[in-house]
Subunit: 337 residues, 2 copies
């Protein structure tokens, strides 16, 4: 091949990127409330931090997360819409344990070759999730990376920013007898997929399109269910009770994330009869002969978000009362059963 | 292979991730000023937005960017340190055109297998760059993604947040005669590498370790020079003059980014004799027979940052006076020469 080289010929189609931005403009703007400030600059998004004046000590909370290897299971455009929801959920839910209210979200999508259908579906899912989280999809980066990523590889990362009053952080001391509340998970969310794929697809021999009687649907349908947005449920909780500590159950699983909020000398006891465990977890355990402790330190085991509240405030609509804080001498930090 | 599956056996080494976080803790904390609020939660970073009380209309500015395919050229640990600097620079410099002051940076690093040496080097570079940008390396995500990414693949994305007074955004109308100032680039920065690699490595037949007389060093040394942090230079500019518009010269090159700040009916004329053009650009042009217009719409051509100021304020220490705003009837939006 001879003749002049071009950036497009080198695998980067700036026009395709521009068409993509035009196509998603309306859906992105649908998430913009009056706080988003218009500005000619294309370099950064601008947003008013509503409510700062009322805070005694305003703080900015920021977090970053991706969807991990869940992306490997997506094939149809609507699967990428679900992954877009996952990406927002993984980030905005991470703002909630410090009591922060989501303000904005930005996405980073990178692919060997931009596939407008997949990317537009992902952005539709992100926009819907941002509306549910009451935050603006303020911008993002869509990178075409020939050679660095294969044509079919897609990397999805996200960043969320929220606001919280530093005078009202959930920092009260936990005590034995405190109640552990939880929000139900819809499934695996976006953690533990490397183990789940090996257990179900390799060991179990399941195909993604196999109808699995225990699940009542195909494996792909089960695994690709998006992560819920817990913003409204946590706001409802905080409106009525004093949350002493909260955890979004992600990497490290119920064991790791639960343990992180329990101080030395105490433990969290979770009653396995207090909540339904989605059958996919038992299927993974059985197919992969996975040790129960390994399961609990990898997966959420059906509990997507935890909150520790005083014992007399345990009845909150929409929340499950799943356990309590106990003396922890010699015990595991999180004991299930 | 039989026996119980584990998350580690599935390719995700949570212990390695924890060791990595321990190893980088001190260097990350070195970027934390008194504004970073300590909190037991591991889910989100918290930082005080200093100075917003003095702003008439405080706004949060947020941006997201990656290092693109520049990552393909990194081989030695110190190369990844440079990429860490690039990642911060690409993001914090994007905050500057709206007049925002960087407050925090978060990184997203994903690899098929975590290589502590590479990742720690990247974080060292990020921390050094954050110190230079006067912002906190507030957190990030390091994802091990077996199967989704090859062992040697590394994805680097970043996210920066800054503050700006909405009453002081650079929005003054440009007029013919306004001066165009610029900050010199150190080289390609982190844009156009897909074209540069094809021109230099494929067409030109250069090896990364070849000493290139025109460059006075090896090709790898030339291409991997990190992007400068323009935070202090822009603050110095804004302390003395009224910037009407600014641009960080990234994707789209000098042509695209320059054009984005010039309104309909005007043009930006850049005097090619006003500034040195790093010889790497001529080498790329020659090796790839790249059209000059394609060069200017892909690369920064030696100018890393642009500012348009009134004609009588064109003398600013550290800034090059590279051109002016002219009537644009029938002309290209950015005319070089």
């Amino acid at each position: 091949v001879t003749g002049p080289l071009t950036y497009r010929g080198a695998g980067v189609d700036i026009d395709a990127a521009t068409r993509f931005l035009d196509a998603i403009g309306a859906v992105v703007r649908s998430t913009h409330g009056p706080g988003v400030a218009a500005h000619g600059s294309q370099f950064a998004g601008l947003i008013r931090p509503e409510g700062w004046e009322q805070m005694g000590s305003p703080l900015i909370a920021a977090t970053c997360d991706g969807v991990g290897t869940k992306v490997l299971l997506a094939r149809r455009p609507e699967d990428f819409e679900g992954l877009g929801r996952d990406l927002v959920a993984m980030n905005v839910n991470d703002l909630l344990p410090v009591g922060a209210t989501p303000l904005l979200f930005l996405d980073y999508l990178a692919a060997g070759r931009l596939d407008p259908e997949r990317l537009e579906a992902a952005v539709r899912g992100m926009a819907a999730a941002c509306l549910e989280a009451h935050c603006a999809l303020l911008g993002g980066e869509t990178a075409e990376m020939p050679d660095a990523l294969g044509d079919d590889q897609l990397e999805m990362a996200g960043f969320a920013v929220g606001l919280v009053d530093g005078d009202r952080l959930p920092t009260a001391a936990l005590r034995p007898g405190d109640a552990v509340l939880a929000l139900p998970a819809t499934g695996l969310h976006a953690n533990g997929f490397s183990l789940a794929r090996r257990a179900l697809l390799e060991r179990g021999g399941f195909g993604l399109d196999d109808h699995v009687p225990e699940l009542g649907r195909t494996l792909a349908e089960e695994l690709l269910v998006p992560t819920p947005i817990y913003v409204d449920a946590v706001a409802h909780l905080l409106a009525g009770v004093e949350a002493k500590a909260m955890a979004h159950v992600t990497g490290g699983g119920l064991q790791g994330r639960g343990a992180a909020v329990v101080p030395e000398g105490l433990a969290m006891r979770i009653d396995p009869g207090s909540h339904p465990v989605p059958p996919v977890f038992d299927l993974i355990r059985a197919c992969g002969e996975v040790d129960p402790a390994e399961m609990a330190s990898t997966f959420n085991m059906g509990l997507g978000f935890l909150a520790v509240v005083p014992a007399d405030q345990a009845a909150v609509a929409g929340w499950l009362h799943v356990g309590e804080i106990v003396d922890g001498e010699g015990a595991e930090r999180v004991a299930i059963g």
